[in-house]
């Protein structure tokens, strides 16, 4: 077990290094440069060259990479060319927002999808299953940019249950923070519910065909016990793999919801930074997101070994 995890961790370090290079190169592939944003479109070529030299952007790419990565290792991610805000600070304030959005949306998604799948998998193609399956199919067709405005119109504007925009950090006021997070979190949860429900349902249905389920029935165990103790765990592989990918996509992938609810999360910050060619901000956020993604996959791999003891051997 430990050897297996150590091996995976070693792979992750290599992956992280490769990602840092790719992130750096991708940013510099973007057409244009930050001088246009900083100096405006009508400044002279001379001034632009001066600014480029001042920002160190006239050096060869490998030198720029080296300067950046050595600062990263000493904990300094640089600052925004435009606002001069430190990249570390942008991430420190933005990351909790993304994290909270993910937690709210995923907790709700699992809390809805898992019981629903456990309930309908035992009744395939009965009315309750057909309703749930069709319903989640509908959810899948509703992207957050459709759901979010509807939620705002109904729950914020009409019913005034939740604020339409704004964000209070958890440390300032936990109750307000959670209250603020509910609508944007729910706007992100619909697709996850649909995906998790459908995967778990179909895996459960195939697990229920297994001999060991018949064996469990032959012991006189109740259906509920069989679902929870015998069928659920071996049916969670697709679910966990999909959750890993899905949560990864939500990391800094929640721009639309952050924009609609006026939250400065990583998703919002990186889109703005890309428009402004704010290289260090893009690189910093992309690197942090990539590392978080890699850690997430590591957690998923670890969960595989928890769920199925055979995984360590393979």
């Amino acid at each position: 077990m430990l050897a297996y995890l150590a091996k995976r961790l070693g792979q992750l370090v290599v992956v992280g290094f490769i990602i840092s290079i790719l992130v750096f190169l991708l940013v510099h592939l973007l057409p244009g440069d930050p001088t246009v944003v900083i100096l405006g479109p009508n400044d002279t070529a001379h001034n632009r060259a001066l600014l480029l030299a001042q920002l160190g952007l006239n050096k060869p790419l490998y030198q720029q990479y080296w300067i950046w990565i050595s600062h990263v290792f000493s904990g300094n991610l640089g600052e925004s060319y435009v606002t001069h805000e430190s990249v570390g600070h942008i991430i420190a304030t933005g990351f909790p927002i993304d994290l909270e959005l993910i937690i709210v949306s995923q907790v709700v998604a699992f809390a809805v999808a898992i019981p629903l799948a456990l309930f309908t998998a035992r009744r395939p193609n009965r009315p309750v299953d057909n309703v749930a399956t069709t319903g989640t199919f509908g959810l899948l067709a509703l992207p957050p940019f459709v759901i979010a405005p509807v939620f705002v119109a109904v729950f914020a504007v009409a019913l005034k249950w939740f604020p339409a925009t704004g964000y209070t950090s958890f440390t300032t006021d936990p109750a307000t923070n959670i209250h603020d997070m509910i609508l944007p979190g729910l706007a992100l949860t619909a697709a996850s519910i649909a995906v998790y429900y459908r995967l778990l349902r179909s895996d459960l249905i195939s697990t229920l065909q297994e001999d060991f389920i018949t064996m469990a029935r032959s012991k006189g165990l109740s259906n509920r016990y069989i679902m929870m103790r015998h069928a659920f765990r071996p049916s969670t592989f697709s679910l966990m793999a999909a959750a890993g990918v899905n949560i990864g996509a939500l990391l800094a992938g929640t721009f639309i919801v952050e924009y609609l609810f006026a939250m400065n999360g990583l998703g919002y910050s990186i889109v703005v930074a890309v428009q402004q060619r704010d290289y260090l901000v893009i690189q910093g956020i992309a690197l942090v997101v990539a590392i978080a993604y890699v850690v997430l996959q590591f957690i998923v791999d670890f969960l595989f070994t928890v769920v199925d003891p055979r995984v360590t051997r393979e």
Binding site: D211, G220, H230, P234, R310
Partner: protein
Amino acid sequence: MIRPTAGRGNAGTLHFPDVSDLADPLLEVEDLVTSFRTTRGTVHAVDRVSLTVNRGQTLGVVGESGSGKTVLSRSIMGLLPARDVLRSGTVRFAGHDLTAMEPAQLRQVWGAQLSMIFQDPMTALNPVVRIGRQITESLRLHLKMDRKEATATAIELLRSVGIPSPEQRIRSYPFQLSGGMRQRVMIAIALACAPRLVLADEPTTGLDVTVQAQILDLLAAMQQERHMAVILVTHDLGVVAKRADDIAVMYAGRIVERAPTRTLFAHTRMPYTRALMDSIPRLSDPSGTRLRAIGGRPPDLIHPPTGCRFSPRCPYVQDKCREADPPLRTAGSPDHLFACWFPLVDGVPSGPSGSGQPVTLTTNGAPNNAVEAPAS
């Protein structure tokens, strides 16, 4: 040896008292029919099967793949899918009709009074659950043991089925055990609550020949010790020859011959039984002897042949066999039943005999067309 029955008191038996006379059979199956609705049509997997099992005795159920023997054992338990299954007939177990029971009542019988050993322990044991829990869960459910008691009992059960260092093994997962060990675990699970009847569905088919004998001996020893009845389902007549008190031979969903083991071997009536016996290789055969396989294949159970279902493969087939279905009847002794119009006598087909009448010996040695088809 810890006997899980010892701690039971009245708690277990109160739910399910044995209301039958102790002289009556433990299990009486009468006219059991089980069919499955499929997209191709209705599969008549078990067709009007009747059999009895006495307390502490072993019934061997023998037949080829597809003869319906696995469905029969599941159907006796009531362990069938809820949908697209038609079942009729009665299964009287310890005086109770299992076919009339609600699922909740059946769950009190399953595992506690009536348990099953599955064919393939690799697929029948949950791969992600430690074997300890797979044993203790029925102890805790049926015998209301607490965790400690159940664990101690599980260790003793594992020891009694010959698992070395059971204190450690209880924490193993099925993939960490060999095939023979897994089947021992399966037996421990089936016997955990000291059932009155164990249905063993091809318990040794997936195992090496040497391990097969060990497992069957273990099962026989446990049976003796606990005075359990066993239904041993197998495709191998050799397996049940020495271990079963009675044998029922199944073909195409029906019982075609049923008798005490000694009688069945001494006075085989049904050509199919004969063919099964002949297909067992003998050590006395000179090397290079061809195996005597039964020609053809088992019939399609969606459209079974008319008349005797074995007629398309029977070496002694007559016109009557293709036209009319032979009923189960007795000859010689009342506990020997067979379904054949021209039953074998000393290995050769006899003349047609009236229902229930002893067959008359014929001296005509020719195997085929020795007898005219009777006018019906």
